[in-house]
């Protein structure tokens, strides 16, 4: 069987890793050697989809059609979209799963995410020299059921069998545990591009037991950038301030400024305006820190709550592990130190540690890493809506998963033919203040009110995903359960998207062939140019002309989209230059012979 890969599907960057004989390793882009794939997806007017660094660069030119952090929208509905989101993207005003509008076409977040996963799958296949069909994907620990389902759907759309969803901080703890072998209480502080998580774990004898977790799925380094970009934009003339291109450029500048402020005390920002003008200014670290301090403070509150939920004090924590690129910000490191009373451990690359952990979990699942076991928890309480729109908890937050709860239901009126169960997730008292996950309809035989007795079992699996089964207590027979996800894709939608994704995969294969043909074309064009310059004297009359024609033909084909034509033009050039190449070989052999004494031959 082919290897199972571990994927860190991040808000800003994504990575793929695998567990090898000498530990986990990140698999790079076969073309460039890059280890981080920007989680950016650009939809071009001609229907093409570009992923990664190139897509990121397109954000300035086509801001609405380039999705920079789709993870923020996973498992949401249109009512969860903020005003700021609306300034950056277009959304379809529809119920159920959120839909972005790109190039006039509606796409769901799992479909956008699947493009990123497909690219990582390709990287992994190139590195491993084998098909990759199974993966472990990481999610923020604080992701709710809908967000997890959406991530799993994205995997399926990318042609991956998602064996397990692992929480990012927990995955990081696996990499950390394997590396250091410490035992005791460990706090993982994970501040990525778009999400914040903290997990308190107990490491003992190879068991990684999560005691408590907390987080905010809409808090990350992107928010730091946004605050800084807003500050800079406010200083611009009103007429260009709201220009989408200016917004996108400002965000990119803010991000770069943030990076340099992690090292230095001030950063220079220069921006070319669409009206031909230019803006230059200096941002100091103190200014930046004042902007982000309220956000960083919020992470401290979450950490203290997690400690309390774990029944621990800061002094019980043996080690604090910093995960996520945003932990490079000095103010964030200061916050970790303030909460836990010790500086964070930073010897593992904060960008890679989650992916490495996902690779280890892939090894655990396939039996390659038998001594380690992860016991994770559900981040948010799960319950149902009961009389008076009240939320009744069935499974408390921080309960170790898998977890099950049973509840008995009956009918309220005579001859009722079904029982509806509304499942929600959250910590609030009123049902409407929590996140609706799904409505389950269970059919019953018509009987007087209160007679039917249905036992409903709520089961949260090791992925943190809920399933519901029902049985008639009087007959002992299982009952069917019809699921209506509140913000997820229905089975029919998934079916349709899977079909489309197969079509897309064909298109993807075509694009890859174009790309590869272009690389080969560039290689031979370059070699021909070099050899002509070096060995032009070896050309026969008329040969130079013929080669030049073949070169031009290949250059034209290379800039087109037809890979067959590129291959054909490649073959023509290759054949045309063959006699010339043979002569070069002969002549270099001759010159080698000429230079040497006779007895050496």
């Amino acid at each position: 069987m082919s290897q199972v890969v571990g994927i860190d599907l991040g808000t800003t960057n994504s990575l793929v890793a695998v567990l090898g004989d000498d530990g986990p390793r990140v698999l790079p882009d076969p073309a460039t050697g890059a280890r981080l794939l920007p989680s950016a997806v650009a939809f071009l007017p001609d229907g093409q989809v570009v992923v990664g660094r190139q897509a990121r660069e397109l954000a300035g030119a086509q801001p609405f059609d380039t999705v920079l952090s789709v993870k923020r929208f996973m498992g949401l509905g249109v009512e969860h979209v903020t005003d700021d989101d609306r300034r950056r993207y277009r959304f379809a005003e529809r119920e159920g799963a959120l839909r972005l509008v790109v190039q006039g076409r509606e796409v769901t977040p799992p479909e956008v995410s699947a493009h990123v996963l497909r690219e990582l799958k390709r990287w992994a296949e190139a590195a491993l020299g084998d098909a990759v069909t199974r993966a472990v994907i990481t999610v923020p620990a604080y992701f709710n059921d809908s967000q997890r389902q959406a991530t799993r759907d994205a995997g399926r759309l990318a042609g991956l069998d998602v064996l397990r969803l692992v929480n990012e901080p927990t995955a990081a703890s696996l990499a950390y545990g394997l590396e250091r072998g410490d035992e005791g209480i460990v706090a993982v502080y994970d501040l990525g591009g778009g999400t914040f998580d903290v997990s308190i774990l107990k490491l003992r004898g190879g068991i990684f037991e999560v005691l408590a977790t907390g987080g905010d799925t809409r808090l990350g380094g992107d928010d730091f950038d946004a605050r800084l970009a807003d500050l800079l934009r406010r200083e611009l003339p009103a007429e260009i301030r709201e220009h989408p291109q200016v917004r996108a450029q400002m965000l990119a500048f803010a991000e770069r400024a943030k990076w340099s402020l992690s090292e230095g005390e001030q950063a220079e920002v220069a921006l070319a305006l669409p009206n031909g003008g230019e803006v230059r200014r200096t941002v100091t670290r103190a200014q930046f820190e004042a902007l982000i301090a309220p956000l960083v403070d919020r992470t401290g509150v979450v950490c203290r709550q997690a400690l309390k939920d774990a029944g621990l004090k800061a002094s019980d924590v043996l080690q604090v592990v910093a995960v996520g690129g945003s932990t490079r910000v000095p103010l964030v490191r200061g916050q970790m130190q303030a909460v836990f009373g010790r500086p964070p451990l930073v010897d593992l690359n904060p960008d890679e540690v989650v992916a490495l952990g996902a690779g280890i979990q892939a090894g655990i699942l396939t039996g390659g890493q038998r001594d380690m076991l992860l016991l994770d928890v559900v981040p948010l309480s799960l319950g149902i809506e009961t009389m008076g729109a009240v939320f009744t908890r069935l499974i408390d937050r921080n309960t170790t998963i898998p977890a099950a709860a049973r509840e008995t239901f009956t009918t309220a009126v005579d001859d009722q033919t079904s029982v509806d169960v509304h499942v929600l997730q959250g910590e609030r008292e009123l049902a409407s203040d929590n996140r609706s996950l799904a409505r389950f309809t269970i059919p019953v035989e018509p009987q007087p009110a209160g007679v039917p007795r249905l036992e409903v079992t709520f089961l949260i699996d090791a992925n943190g995903i809920l399933s519901v089964t029902a049985a008639d207590l009087r007959t002992g027979q299982a009952r069917s359960v019809e699921v209506k996800p509140s913000y997820g894709l229905t089975d029919e939608e998934m079916e349709r998207m899977l079909e489309e994704s197969i079509d897309f995969a064909e298109e993807d294969v075509r694009q890859r062939q174009v790309r590869e043909a272009r690389v080969d074309a560039d290689t031979i064009l370059n070699a021909t140019r070099v050899q002509l310059a070096k060995h032009g004297t070896l050309l026969e009359p008329g040969e130079g002309q013929r080669i030049q024609e073949a070169v031009t033909a290949l250059q034209v084909a290379r800039d087109g989209e037809d890979y067959v034509r590129i291959r054909d033009a490649y073959d023509v050039l290759s054949q045309t230059t063959e006699p010339f190449a043979r002569r070069i070989m002969d002549s270099s052999l001759m010159s080698a012979v000429e230079g040497r004494p006779l007895e050496d031959l």
Partner: protein, 216 residues
């Protein structure tokens, strides 16, 4: 009602006798939980109120290693589903048994004693304390950021926490005596335990209220 199976419990996959273990000793397949298995049995313990915390954790870790779905990922769907169910039971057993209060409540459940609705009523012994605390909390909500009042509430918080700790220690010594005397299921003992549990859970929810008020 299913009768308790005595003697052999063959593995559903390889037919080896599993002797009621969570996983088959022969082929490691997770087994369906026995119909008579309570949370003590799930972790291989007798129905006792007295439990050694370190031993409980060891049993929990060993059981998790055996049944967790991660260990049965490559097996068939049936084994996978059984692993999820068994793992959920093991997790519930640990969660319930490691907390002396939850353990005692569960133990009462097994003896068909319900704490029932009167659990929500203020236990007479605590009436004065509850009244006083609620009044202070009310005042604190009214007067924004009164430092003196806040200090008072923090003192109440500390008092409640130490009372709960005292009750818990007391309960633990009591259950040791009961177990030793072998009167664990005597009606008077059950009534006494029930009263103590009511008081502790009332104090715990009062402490939560104080926490919420102080945190706000």
């Amino acid at each position: 009602m299913q009768t308790v199976v005595t003697g052999e419990r063959p593995c559903w996959r390889c037919r080896v006798d599993t002797a009621g273990a969570l996983v088959c000793p022969g082929c490691e397949a997770p087994q369906p939980l026995a119909s008579d298995a309570d949370l003590f049995r799930v972790l291989g313990l007798p129905r006792s109120l007295v439990i050694d915390a370190a031993d409980l954790e060891r049993r929990y870790h060993a059981a998790s290693r055996a049944v967790h779905p991660d260990r049965h990922q490559m097996a068939d769907a049936h084994a996978g589903a059984l692993a999820v169910g068994a793992s959920a039971a093991v997790n519930r057993a640990y969660r319930t048994l490691r907390d002396p209060i939850a353990r005692a409540r569960y133990w009462l459940d097994l003896h068909d004693v319900r704490l029932g609705d009167d659990n929500n009523r203020v236990p007479p012994a605590l009436a004065a304390l509850v009244f006083e605390t609620q009044e202070k909390l009310e005042e604190l909500r009214g007067a924004n950021g009164d430092a003196a009042l806040r200090q008072e509430i923090e003192a109440v918080h500390a008092d409640l926490a130490s009372r709960i700790a005292g009750f818990e220690t007391d309960l633990e010594t009591q259950v040791v005596t009961w177990e030793r005397d072998g009167v664990s299921a005597a009606p008077a003992t059950l009534a006494d335990l029930k009263r103590r549990l009511s008081e502790i859970s009332y104090l715990r929810s009062l402490l939560d209220d104080v926490d919420a008020a102080v945190g706000a």
